[in-house]
Structure formats: structure tokens, C-alpha cells
């Protein structure tokens, strides 16, 4: 028994020794690969630059004085000329210098004395050779330091610049005049820090707009109850691409049509107003039928037609307002003067509207058609007998699988430029159809499949993968897209904000109390209504809190997004560091510290107030 204990304790200490040994090896290798070397630290050259940089960093260039330069010249001959020299005539009421001796051979020592200079001042003493016709060459010989009486004395060695003519020694002193004012560096820094703050603001806004809807799709508790029969899923999958295609067609047509209308601005304006009023009237007509009752087929078709009409008018209105805005913006820029940026804002917003309208129309068309097809699928599933549904399912899910994988094949073909694309297309479509068939055989015809969870997992995977790419790396990509500048920074930070916020938000959605959701569902509310009335009130405080937090992160990130060309203050900072202009860099670092602290304080106090 005792022996066993003993051997156990030996084993224990042996194990401990091994662990310590192993840890030592790990750290030794760590030292090796990270090249830890204090010799480098102690090198005198390093020490000098360390002191220089540290001192420069300690003196950020914020305020500067206007400086007055004061030059005193005195003649000197190198070597002595043949004729004897007469003492130079000088005004003894002004600062003056005396050289003894008045002439000497190159390399000899002379003493320079100065009188009536500014007391306690310093500056360079230079030799101005006569060989340079422009007198722009100055050979620095030393520094002068005047005493309380404004007198200095300096012994210099004459340079090897012999000349027959008179040459000069020049003392240059500078003194500050007037009040200190902001340096150019400070002004540039201010410009860029404003850019930085707004960069963070736009990126956060972009993040909120897109991440809120995504966060619901990425929340398990919302998606787990979304189940559909196969017929409905397959028809939805078919409806989406068809709808998107039709949407693009319609958008293209509307684009041309509004182009034609805009030939005359007045016609454009009038047709915009007609679109607006028409859309509002039609929407009212549909929405006013508040009760969801079993409408007759005629009524339902009429309702759908009205909705399509309203959507078309709205899309056309968007196109027109974008065009009108573009022109109005240009007029505003020329008229507004100091607030011309408002005109530019109108122009850019109109431009954004024009750019996103086709995509929006296509996506809405896709969503609507997907939804309608899905509903039809649901009804077919409810009404038709078992065997019919089974046959229908085989057909539809093969078609859906083929379409989805064919689209994927198109993307692959675009990316890799495969030569015989039609084979790829056929093969992929075949695989898709097979998968669809497999799914049909696997699932019972009228069974509800957990489509919600599938979407949830796909969204989650996408979010996690995208989130793992740092904003700085995204900035490099964005720079390729839109060029160097703050806009690239907005895109990079915005994209990163979207995915991070979507994840944070969705976790909040997952942690809400399920009771209210259950209660609202029990009243006969739709899923959308349940989210609006049971989920959103519960997630507002954490959403505000996370948005503040993200805004905070974005301000900090935007200070360095410029390192990768993303604009903001980082752009200036990395430039100055590379130019070894440490005093300017120090100014920018100070600005970052101030802004980040202020943002930190603001966001925490706002969080306290609203949450």
C-alpha cells in the first residue's frame, strides 16, 4: 500500500517535471521564432533614434508661432587676398558679427563674435561660398548661442572653399512673433478626424439597416417553427429566380420608359406626381379591406392586380424621383454656396436610389412570386389527394433542384471561366434534379419539412464565415472596388458591422421570453405581426445597447482603416509615420485618443440613459 503511494508520488513529480520541461521548450522556441534580442535594444544607434522619436511624439504639432527670420552677414576672405584688407564698414546699432582674423587659409580656425543679437537665442552659423552664383548654398559650421547681453563667440574651422572674391559667414536666428496659431498639421488632422467620425456613423447606419432583418432569419426560436411541405418549398424555389428575372425585365423597361419621360423635366415632374398619387390611392384601396376573410376568386384576382399596379407605379416613381433628384442636386450645388454639400447629398442619394432600384424591384418581385408560389404549393398540398401530391412533388422538386444548381453552375462558370460551360450546366442541373428526386423519396408527400432551420443554418454559416474576415482586410477589397478613400472604409466597416451586428442581434432575439410570442400567435396573428408585437418590444433595449457598442468599435476601427487605404485619420497617420514625421503622427494619435475617449464616454452615458 505504502509502496503504491510512493510510486504514485514519484510518478506525479515526474509528470510535473515533464510539464515544466515542456513549457520551457515551448517558450524557448517562442523566443527563437519571435527573435527576442535585448542587444538590439541597447545599441547606441537605437538609443538615439528612440530618444528622438519619443521626444517627437511627446511634442505633438498643434500650435505654432509665426516666425521672423533675422540674418546677419559678415564678409570673410579665404584665403587672404594680396592687398591688405580694410575693416568692413558696419552699422553698429544693428546686430553685427566680427571675425578675427578677417581672412585665413582653408582649414584654419577663426573666431566669430556676435554683438547686439537677441539675448538667449540660437541658430545656425553658415559659410556662404562665392562659387555659388545664387548664394543658395549654405555650409553649416556650427550653432550660435547668445548670452543675456546678446553676445556670442564661436570658433570655427574654415571649409575648403577657396575663392578670390569676398565670401560670407551668415548667422540666421528666428524668433516667434505674435500669438500661437493652429499648425497645418492640426488643421489637416481636424479635417480627417471629422471624416473618421462620419465614416463610423455611415458604417454603423449601414450595419443597422441590413443586420436587423437578417437577425430574425438567424434566430433559432423564430425559424424553428417555419415548416412547409415539399410542394410549397419547391414552388418557392422556382418562384424566386423567375420573379427576380421578371423583376429585372420590368425594371429595365421602366428605366427606359422614365428616361423617355425625363426628356422634358416638367413632364418628368408631373408624371412623378401622378405615380405618387396613383400608388397611394391604389394602396389605400387594398389596405382599407381590413378584415382577412375568404374573398371570392374574382375579388382576389382584382386585389392582386391592384397590388401589382401599385408596385409598378411605386417603382416608376422611384426611378423618376432619382432622375429628378439628380438634376435638382446639380442645380442646388451651384446655388447653395457654403452649404453646397446638401446639393451633393441630394445628388448622391438620387444616384444611390437609381442604382438600387433595379435590384430592389427584382428582389421584391422574387419575394412576391416566391411567396405566391409557396402559397399555391401549400393549397395544392392541402387540397389534392396523396398520390397526386407525390407525383407533383417529384416533378416540382426535380425542377427546383435543377434550377438552383444551374444558377450555381452559372456562378461557378463566371468565376472560373470554364470552357465547355453547357456540359457543366447540364451536369449540375442533373445533380440538382437527382437531389430533388432524393428529397421527394425521403420525405412523405404531405409532411412539413423544417425549411426555417435550414435557412437558419445557412445564414449562420454565412455570418460566421464573413465575420471572421477583419474589416482591415475587407478594406483592401473595397479599395479595389471603389478606389482609395473614405468610401472604401465605409463599405468595409459597414459590411463587417452588418455581419457582427446580425449575430449579436440574433442572439438577443434567441434570448427573449417565449411567453408573449406564444400569446400573440394564439390570437391568430401572422408571423410578421408576432415579430412586430411580441419580439421587437423585447429586443429594443439590447439592440440599442449593441448598436452603441458597435458605433464605438467603428470609431476605433475607422482610425486605422486608413492603413489599408480606407480613408479617415489612419491614412494621414500611416503617411506621417512612413515619412518619419513623428511630431505630426503624434498629433494624429492624440486626436484619435481624444475622439475615442469622447465616444466612449458618450456611448456609455447614452446606454445608461436609454437601456
Amino acid at each position: 500500500m505504502k509502496k503504491q503511494e510512493q510510486s504514485a508520488s514519484i510518478w506525479k513529480s515526474l509528470r510535473l517535471g515533464l510539464i515544466i520541461f515542456f513549457v520551457l521548450i515551448v517558450f524557448a522556441y517562442g523566443f527563437e521564432v519571435t527573435k527576442v534580442d535585448l542587444k538590439e535594444f541597447h545599441k547606441s544607434s537605437r538609443q538615439d533614434s528612440r530618444i528622438r522619436v519619443t521626444r517627437a511624439l511627446a511634442r505633438p504639432e498643434i500650435f505654432v508661432f509665426e516666425q521672423e527670420e533675422f540674418i546677419v552677414l559678415t564678409p570673410i576672405y579665404v584665403p587672404c587676398p594680396d592687398q591688405p584688407l580694410s575693416p568692413p564698414s558696419m552699422d553698429l546699432s544693428e546686430p553685427y558679427m566680427v571675425v578675427t582674423p578677417q581672412c585665413a587659409a582653408p582649414g584654419e580656425l577663426v573666431q566669430v563674435e556676435g554683438f547686439k543679437f537677441q539675448p538667449n537665442i540660437k541658430g545656425p552659423l553658415s559659410f556662404i561660398p562665392s562659387s555659388d552664383p545664387n548664394n543658395s548654398l549654405a555650409l553649416k559650421q556650427g550653432d550660435i548661442f547668445t548670452d543675456d547681453q546678446g553676445h556670442f563667440s564661436l570658433t570655427i574651422k574654415l571649409p575648403k572653399r577657396p575663392g578670390e572674391d569676398v565670401q560670407y559667414l551668415r548667422a540666421t536666428t528666428r524668433r516667434n512673433v505674435g500669438l500661437p496659431h493652429l499648425s497645418q498639421t492640426a488643421i489637416d488632422t481636424w479635417d480627417k478626424i471629422v471624416e473618421t467620425v462620419f465614416l463610423a456613423l455611415l458604417a454603423t447606419t449601414l450595419g443597422i439597416i441590413f443586420s436587423v432583418p437578417v437577425s430574425f432569419v438567424a434566430a433559432r426560436n423564430i425559424m424553428k417553427d417555419v415548416k412547409s411541405p415539399l410542394t410549397s418549398i419547391a414552388l418557392t424555389l422556382i418562384g424566386w429566380p423567375v420573379g427576380i428575372y421578371l423583376g429585372f425585365l420590368v425594371a429595365f423597361w421602366l428605366n427606359n420608359f422614365t428616361d423617355a419621360l425625363m426628356v422634358n423635366k416638367l413632364v418628368g415632374l408631373i408624371s412623378f406626381l401622378i405615380c405618387l398619387i396613383g400608388a397611394v390611392v391604389l394602396i389605400r384601396k387594398v389596405v382599407i379591406q381590413a378584415e382577412i376573410e375568404n374573398l371570392s376568386t374574382d375579388k382576389q384576382i382584382q386585389k392582386i392586380m391592384i397590388q401589382i399596379g401599385a408596385a409598378l407605379l411605386a417603382a416608376m416613381g422611384l426611378y423618376l424621383v432619382a432622375r429628378l433628384g439628380l438634376q435638382a442636386g446639380m442645380v442646388l450645388v451651384s446655388v447653395l454656396g457654403p452649404v453646397a454639400f446638401m446639393g451633393n447629398f441630394v445628388t448622391q442619394l438620387s444616384d444611390i436610389t437609381a442604382v438600387v432600384t433595379p435590384g430592389t424591384v427584382a428582389i421584391i418581385a422574387g419575394a412576391v412570386l416566391g411567396n405566391v408560389f409557396g402559397k399555391i404549393g401549400q393549397q395544392l398540398d392541402d387540397k389534392l389527394p396523396f398520390s397526386t401530391v407525390k407525383i407533383l412533388n417529384i416533378f416540382l422538386s426535380c425542377l427546383a433542384g435543377a434550377i438552383v444548381l444551374a444558377i450555381l453552375a452559372g456562378a461557378i462558370n463566371w468565376l472560373y471561366e470554364i470552357r465547355q460551360a453547357q456540359y457543366l450546366l447540364l451536369i449540375m442541373a442533373g445533380i440538382g434534379a437527382t437531389l430533388g428526386l432524393a428529397l421527394t423519396l425521403y420525405a412523405r408527400p404531405k409532411e412539413s419539412l423544417p425549411i426555417g432551420l435550414t435557412i437558419y443554418y445557412i445564414t449562420r454559416t454565412f455570418l460566421n464565415a464573413t465575420r471572421s474576415i477583419e474589416a482591415l482586410i475587407m478594406a483592401i477589397v473595397a479599395v479595389i472596388w471603389v478606389g482609395i478613400g473614405p468610401f472604401a472604409g465605409v463599405m468595409a466597416l459597414g459590411l463587417h458591422s452588418i455581419v457582427s451586428l446580425a449575430k449579436l442581434y440574433s442572439e438577443q432575439v434567441e434570448s427573449i421570453m417565449p411567453g408573449p410570442m406564444e400569446a400573440i400567435t394564439a390570437t391568430g396573428a401572422t408571423r410578421l405581426q408576432t415579430i412586430i408585437y411580441a419580439v421587437i418590444p423585447q429586443i429594443i433595449p439590447p439592440y440599442i445597447s449593441f448598436t452603441m457598442y458597435r458605433w464605438d468599435i467603428n470609431v476605433r476601427m475607422s482610425t486605422i482603416i486608413g492603413f489599408a487605404g480606407g480613408g479617415g485619420i489612419g491614412f494621414l497617420l500611416i503617411q506621417n509615420i512612413n515619412l518619419l514625421n513623428y511630431r505630426a503622427a503624434s498629433t494624429q494619435m492624440l486626436a484619435i485618443a481624444v475622439v475615442v475617449s469622447i465616444m466612449d464616454y458618450l456611448s456609455s452615458s447614452m446606454r445608461e440613459r436609454y437601456v
Binding site: 389596405v287 379591406q289 381590413a290 378584415e291 382577412i292 401549400q378 393549397q379 392541402d382 411567453g515 408573449p516 406564444e518 400569446a519 400573440i520 400567435t521 394564439a522 390570437t523 391568430g524 396573428a525 401572422t526 410578421l528 405581426q529 412586430i532 408585437y533 411580441a534 418590444p537 423585447q538 429594443i540 433595449p541
Partner: protein, 250 residues
Amino acid sequence: MLEVKNLTKIYDGGVLALDDVSFEVPKGQFLAVIGLSGSGKSTLLRCINRLIEPTSGHIYWNGMDITAASPDEMRRIRRKIGMVFQNFNLVHRSKVITNVLAGRLGYINPIWSLINHFSRQDIHRAKAQLDRVGIADKAYSRADELSGGQQQRVGIARALMQEPEMILADEPVASLDPVLAHSIMKYLEQINKEDGVMVVCSLHFLDIVHRYADRVIALNEGQLVFEGLPKDIDDEKFKEIYGREAERVG
């Protein structure tokens, strides 16, 4: 008339919550469902409005097969079934009136919900319901500022907004003290007797069952073990429902 036929629910984990339960509730009856915690009362109530999908069996209500309804049909059916919960399930951060108005959601076009709009008529109706349960003055308070009894009255008002033909009450008074419990039960009784709304209510305390219920069914481990009048529950039946070790209190 509600008709439950061979209702069985097996949860994903394999737990048998309801085992071949069949019973009928005539129009306008106050039915109490009793049984131990975990006996399947909540599951039964939630199967009736399909918050929980039954595994097998049928539920007929006024001739419609609830278990076969499509999602859209189900929403239309749910509008007519009010539900009251043990934990009230109010949205805490919303105003009382918003919580009550939520009972109308099944009747309005979802587009209005995007802008949180209710008709004047609905708002008027919500105030009337709050007045009926005696807390009209609290309409614009936040729901979590109310006491437990007041919150449950908001829950009842919300159910009444649906103009229900049936109310499912899942242990509506289990979180309340006895005095409040009776006041809440009186509202349910009033709705049952005056408006002729069928009430299916799961309950813990037998004295409340005796005082308010027309008829009782009892569940034990998912099986229907008793069906009859409240006064028929004698000591023997009691032990059958609640187990041999149980003792009668109250």
C-alpha cells in the same frame, strides 16, 4: 361544441404527454381540467389551438377539423379562441392598451401592423374591455408596472378583444393569491355565463373547481382518468387522479 378524439402527443424527446385522450365539451360549458404538474394539461390546451402540433388524433370544433386546418385556416380559427396564461404572457415593455389591442391582430390587415396602426373602433373596444375588467385607468401604463392580478386582467381583456367563442385558460390563477384568484375566476365565470363563451380551464385547487366548473376532466400521465361533475370527485377518485400519497387540502 368541442370534440377531442383520440388525441395523442409525443414530444421529440419521446415523452408521451397525451395518450389517446377523448372527450366532448358542449357549447357554453365551463370545463375544468385537473391533474398534477406534468400530467399533460398545458399540452392538451395548446393542442386545441395548435400552438403544439398533436402527433395523432382529431379535434373538431363546430364541425371543423382543427387538426387538418391549413396555416391560413388555423389563423382564422385561432381568432375565435382566446387564451389566458399562467404567467400572463404580456409584452412587458409595451403599454397595457397595446397588449389588449394585440388581441385584434388576427382581424386586421398585417400591413397596418407595420406602422403599429389600429382603427379608432378597435381602440375604443380595447378601452371598453379594460373597463370591463376594472383597470381602465391603467390603459397607458407599461404592462410590467402592473401587479400580478392586474396583469392577468389585461390578459383576459386581450382574449376578449378576439370576440372569442372559446377561451382556453392555462392555470390562470396559479401565480396569484387566493383572493385575487377568485376575482380572476369571477371574470371568467362572467364571460362564460353572460356571453355564453365556452371555457376550458386547467386548475390546481379543487375548491376553485367546485366553485366555478360545470364539469371536470382529470389527466394523469397523459391519460384521461376522470370525467364528470365536480361533486363526483370523492376521496377515492381524488387518490386516483393525484396519486396514492396525495392528501386533500382545501
